[in-house]
Symmetry: C2
Subunit: 388 residues, 2 copies
């Protein structure tokens, strides 16, 4: 697989890329290498990102997936987890071809350069069903919020999506029930452009009850997109990473309704960390579905969004990007994933599991300890269960 000829690469990419890419051996090789990396890594894998940034994506395939050895612990751990997934590449490409998905990689004319602000945590590739050009629209607004939305939240979402898409903005959301679904539907209703960002592969509509809605999005002027390859089921980590992608694909993010611990606050945090404009729609203080929005107004300095004009204003007011912070936030989640609540683990074990160097892991563990999310004991580190 790693030593495929130009002809073999062309065969593998047929149907997934434009004829221009197929006709250019260099471009085809880059697309194929990115596709491999997309299949063997989890979203946000900074070790792979750093390796690719250092070697270039094609040489990184040999360095990270070939038979050579390395003395770098993080890279060695990476090689082990990446190689274990090499066999899935063929199947992912077949599935993508089967559902008519397109493969986009950095440098492709349709690649949404906004996501490059994620640095080494940027996606290796995007898999898209529909009008891929809509990903790189001039003005993209993320409208996100609770699955358990109220009639009020759905009404406001409908108003914002309708008016903003009529003003030419692309409406980005996560395809979920509640606010997300209403954002997509209201945009479709006025023939607007909407982007649904999935946590699993674009061949697996999620939630299943939105299969029809996602199909309509893919057939309309918008697109259904994911960074994980076809065949990948959504997981908690992938939902969190999908949230960072919604924020990165958008110029501004507005949370319409969100409970006190809603996943939408995670999207909002990513938007703020990326220096993207962040807004929250207020609601009755007596409504639990607005508690997260009020929290964003109080604690995250989100702008109070009450109308389409307010949302438009937000699209025109982005602050400078700070991708470093975003990466750091992702790193902590990865370290938490590498910790166990029950079994204490030594720092070098955690570093290997999370894919970080030993010095890096010590710093991250110290931060998590300060946050009360990890605890050091005589036998090693454990994860602290969250109070939620």
């Amino acid at each position: 697989m790693l030593t495929a000829s130009s002809r073999e690469v062309r065969a593998k990419l047929t149907g997934l890329v434009t004829p221009e890419v197929l006709d250019d051996d260099g471009a085809a090789a880059r697309h194929y290498a990115h596709a491999i990396w997309s299949c063997v890594t989890e979203p946000g894998d900074g070790v792979a990102g750093a390796l690719i940034a250092e070697c270039g994506v094609i040489a990184a395939v040999e360095a990270g997936l070939g038979s050579g050895g390395t003395t770098n612990a993080a890279l060695e751990a990476g090689r082990r987890r990446w190689q274990a997934r090499l066999s899935s590449v063929e199947d992912a490409l077949d599935r993508a071809r089967h559902v008519g998905a397109r493969l986009l990689v950095p440098g492709n004319p349709d690649w949404p350069v906004r996501v490059d602000d994620l640095g080494v945590h940027a996606p290796r590739a995007l898999w898209a069903r529909g009008n891929v050009a809509s990903l790189a629209g001039d003005s993209a607004l993320a409208l996100v919020g609770a699955r358990a939305a109220t009639g009020y939240g759905e009404h406001v979402t409908g108003e914002l999506a309708t008016h903003l898409s009529r003003r030419g903005a692309t409406i980005v959301s996560g395809g979920a029930y509640g606010i997300d679904g209403m954002a997509h539907r209201a945009t479709l209703a006025v023939d607007g452009v909407t982007v649904a960002v999935l946590a699993g592969g674009v061949d697996r509509p999620y939630p299943a009850g939105h299969a029809d809605l996602l199909g309509r999005i893919a057939r309309g002027p918008g697109v259904v997109v994911a960074e994980v390859p076809c065949g990948t089921p959504p997981t908690k980590w992938r939902f969190l990473q999908r949230n960072r992608l919604i924020a990165a694909l958008s110029d501004a993010t507005v949370v319409v309704e969100a409970g006190w611990r809603s996943g939408s606050l995670n999207t909002a945090g990513h938007a703020a960390a990326l220096g993207r404009a962040l807004g929250a729609v207020p609601g009755p203080v007596t409504s639990a579905a607005s508690a997260g929005c009020h929290r964003l107004l109080r604690e995250y300095d989100a702008r109070c969004v009450t109308s389409a004009d307010d949302a438009s204003e937000l699209l025109g007011a982005q602050s400078p990007a700070e991708p470093v912070t975003s990466g750091r936030t992702d790193d902590r989640t990865r370290v938490l994933d590498a910790l166990s609540v029950r079994s204490p683990r030594e720092p070098d074990d955690v570093a290997r599991r999370a894919g970080f160097g030993i010095d890096e892991i010590r710093g991250l563990l110290a931060i998590l300890e300060l946050d009360g999310r990890a605890r050091r004991g005589p036998e090693g580190w454990r994860r602290v269960t969250s109070p939620s």
Copy 2:
């Protein structure tokens, strides 16, 4: 009147001040002088304030109200308007005595020193019915809002007033229908301390439909207070000045519901200008009664208040006072009052009417022109009618 003997002063003040004041000739003379100034000036009269700051209140009576002349145009205009009201003093004192009102002046132990932050625009005196000591409580929260409140606004006001008064805060409001009335009533219901600040004299319950409520406040542990003397009807100017007094009497101001151009935003502006903490309660973006609150969140950087805890936090977080700005805002309103929409006026005429020096008035007119609220023409200055 200006040359009353100690015995005459004591007779005039009997029933209006404490025995301690009556027994101290100096204190009695100061109280009487302040009462005179309170009767002859409009709230916020900075010329009188400056004169009193310069001469002391007793000498200022002779300088501002005696028969001597002056070459200062603003002072001369002041003398004319003040002297025209000298005859009202006797009646105001009689009315105050008749309703059992107390006279408070700066330096009196019960004087609420918070209002001194208003500088030369601070009240000359306060007239109070009820427990005057409640004006100088440790922690005072203004809860204000629309007369046309919704059930939601009244519910939230009731919750905030109940919990904050139980935590020992004094609840300050304006005695109006809607949010104000609910703030007072909810506080009375838990035997809390509430202060009603009126735009007219405390002998004239306003609105008339709240005569009973204001009576209950005066008989309870709180107080009904005004800076204008008894017998004075409320006017638009006095409502605006009353709003500045609500802000100045409180450590923090929370607007619960307010339309887009509500008078409560004026109170909020004063609170912000005085460096007092400012909060706004969000509501549905579909409710016109919350539009002013959302405006405060967006444009005035008000804190989003969703609970009694949020309001308590606000009481603990005041920023340094900036009384200069407040004075300047009042000054502009006074200049606008001195301008006519139809008849152009020369700057010296405006200066005389508004009670400012000619240099001061040129600066203020220039600011109003920039704001689009005054226009310069070949024959002089006119007021621009507001778009509302």
